[in-house]
Symmetry: C2
Subunit: 453 residues, 2 copies
């Protein structure tokens, strides 16, 4: 199928709209259906309502199913409402079961129920099954369109079977072997099957110690397993080993990207609140607890500073450098955090010694601290006229950056080991810890120096 790049998509959309306007329906249909469904979907989403109504008359429900599969869930949800019910149920019959289940779970219960009733009984049952699994599990993301074989068939027989079943399967490249009770007993790749003698039996070709996941396995674990073994799909089984469905690599890419960007939420103490599709009120409800919790830590820093009110009274200029010190320590700590979190995510960290990591971060912190201290020793006397403050700030930044990198590297490692809520290893929490330590260092140095002078 032809595929368009971003520039041509716009041109092509205009071209197709022109055809619609001219009522050149046959030509429109022919050109449109030659495109890759992903591009069809992109064009479809750009049409105005009237043009879409035209489209529905030219495109049958089966063709529409391909387009729908390529739309974002949110778009599917909005567009399905303008289709008539008969057309919709026909189309859903032709969706892969995982996509059908995702779509129906977006609709309100009565609409979903009505559509399920109008669907083919077998398809409807498959979809209902998928909808019953808890979200973000293997069961919820798997599809029912897999190919299963009997181990007693020959390679040739299987190829005959594939000719029949291929059009309705999500992948035909991994073939799953089941016994009479539909229990998974082996897997054979189409590659092995093709290169085998045509009378060779499946049982001699298949690998019998087959990888599978339970239907309640977390989707991230499924994704990591598929990634680790470079699989194109993984079979999902019930507790008694019955083959229930498959998870394919394209779904896994979405899961991995979703999880990686979800980490941004954890990283910024906005956990579970980075979805763009929630209301301001909902968003405030999810985000304010973190801000308020962190604010209470902030009250601790206020307590620290209050303890040193006398020192501050002697040199009020010290207050001016509180943000600079806190900011620098916070930034250095967050960098260390990023290094360690990335190492944990990519699995490159486990192989290094823990001690070596900490030593490296500490050395890095000292070096950066030294550079900052030297810079400030030069600049502060020039702009603020105080050598005393320059020395205090310089010494403080050196010490607090060294400490900050240690904190930034240690906290996520501890969190990882203890398996507590990773949101607590996020930037804001580490920054807050570093704030308090940095202020203590600052005012301790300031008070001591003032004392001795």
């Amino acid at each position: 199928m032809a595929r368009l790049n971003n520039e041509t998509i716009d041109d092509y959309t205009n071209h197709l709209i022109e055809l619609l306007k001219k009522n050149a329906n046959l030509q429109f249909r022919e050109e449109f259906l030659q495109l890759h469904p992903t591009d069809q979907a992109e064009i479809y989403a750009k049409l105005v309502k009237e043009q879409r109504q035209n489209l529905y008359e030219m495109i049958n429900p089966e063709e529409m199913a391909d387009i729908f599969q390529a739309l974002e869930l949110q778009e599917q949800k909005e567009l399905i409402l303008e289709l008539d019910q008969h057309y919709t149920s026909e189309m859903i019959n032709h969706l892969y079961t995982d996509d059908a289940a995702d779509l129906l779970s977006q609709l309100d219960e009565s609409a979903a129920h009505a559509l399920l009733k109008a669907m083919d009984l077998e398809d409807a049952n498959d979809v209902k099954e998928l909808m019953a699994y808890p979200p973000k599990t293997a069961g919820a993301i798997m599809t029912k369109e897999f190919i299963s074989l009997a181990s007693s068939h020959s390679a040739q027989q299987v190829i005959e079977q594939l000719r029949e079943e291929a059009p309705n399967a999500e992948t035909i490249y991994y073939l799953y072997v089941v016994n009479e009770q539909d229990q998974l007993v082996g897997v054979v790749s189409l590659r092995d099957l093709l290169t085998a003698q045509s009378n060779e039996l499946v049982q001699n070709l298949m690998s019998s110690r087959v990888v599978s996941v339970d239907s309640d396995t977390n989707q991230e674990e499924v994704a990591k397993m598929i990634k680790k073994y470079n699989f194109l799909a993984a079979p999902v089984v019930s507790s008694d080993g019955t083959l229930l469905g498959i998870v394919t690599v394209d779904d896994v890419i979405d899961v991995l990207e979703d999880e990686a960007t979800e980490d941004l939420g954890e990283f910024t103490a906005a956990r579970g609140a980075t979805d763009i599709n929630v209301s301001a009120f909902q968003s405030a409800k999810l985000r304010s607890p973190w801000i308020v919790l962190l604010m209470f830590f902030g009250l601790l820093t206020a307590g620290v500073i209050e303890q040193f009110e006398e020192t501050l009274n002697q040199i009020i200029l010290l207050a001016a450098f509180i943000p600079l010190l806190m900011g620098s320590a916070g930034n250095a700590g967050t960098q260390s955090l990023a290094v360690v979190v990335r190492g944990l995510a990519l699995g490159t960290l486990e192989k290094k010694g823990l001690f070596r990591i900490l030593l490296k971060e500490f050395s890095t912190g000292m070096m950066i601290g030294f550079i900052c201290a030297m810079t400030l020793l030069l600049i502060i006397p020039i702009f603020y006229g105080s050598y005393m403050v320059a020395v205090i700030v310089g010494m403080s930044i050196f010490c607090s950056l060294s400490v900050a990198t240690i904190v930034g590297a240690t906290v996520p490692l501890i969190i990882h080991k203890l398996k507590i809520d990773p949101a607590f290893a996020s930037g804001p929490f580490i920054t807050t810890v570093n704030d308090i330590l940095g202020l203590l260092i600052y005012f301790t140095i300031a008070t001591s120096l003032l004392h001795y002078l």
Copy 2:
């Protein structure tokens, strides 16, 4: 091939080491080779040097190639040094060209050169070709082991060809059709081929408007394209359309994960410095410019506070709440940043109106600010005994959180539109901007209130 889960890997490793100790070489070999190469690699990496030496005598270079392919690059680099050169060059002959090129680029030049000389000429040339492409381009990550067809062949002929070539191809599920000048003219999936009549010609089965990428296309773009169209592979062509290689979906997963975790670096102003395998000195060199640059912004905040020295002199307690105010504004801003950056990464944001996003973030900021202000109006009088300071801090936190969410949401959007270095949209930069705004708000409110009272 059998695959093990994490618990059994350890047991199985011990079991295999026992076999090695008992010199039960045949049994070891048989059991070991039954495992999936990913598991073989995991066990291999756990062996001590003496056990590994034993292994090399039992496993031939071709079998070793499968294991090497499943190791991390860093491990490959360390382990290859203990193999003898003849064994190594034989093994590299059996690596996929992309893996061979990756490995050789890790070695020092003379070692790589010696190995290339000892390799089969054709393989060596393929590897040299890949090594010549700039890193992180389609050319650098592609492999040469693809299957190309003539359009004049029949489905049956192609299947015969596959029987021959399948063992050496990285994927046989997408077949690329080339003309006599090796220019890419079409693509046909094995699925379509299998379901076709056996005498049907490739030219009637193939899609002739085929998607391809240039060899100098950025790897992230290749990955996004494969993800968008749910491909298993994408062909890479030269400027004149000659088919050079393919990029497969498993490589793309690594690229997407790598890019997503690299975003953490951008997010924390540690860009390009989140690799765990660099020295402390190197790390300080990469990270210190950001810290120093941000420190100069910090000097601006010092300037702001200095302007309000008189106000501070009147109520020294105001200094105590600087960190709390700055921290809260920073956190709220970073949350908004996470929402927008995630939306941009997942592509869910483009479809919402820009204005709606900003309005939502602003409303969220006001609500969170209101909650924080109310909390502080209660707490500060109790613990710090000053209604005046409570009012100043409360009003300031309400205003600065509202502003901070706007800043956190706007900056990445502007950066995205202007296509400037996204590191400037990172948490630390936004936090610094919010620091300055927050302090201005704080001291302006304080000074005005003191003036009127």
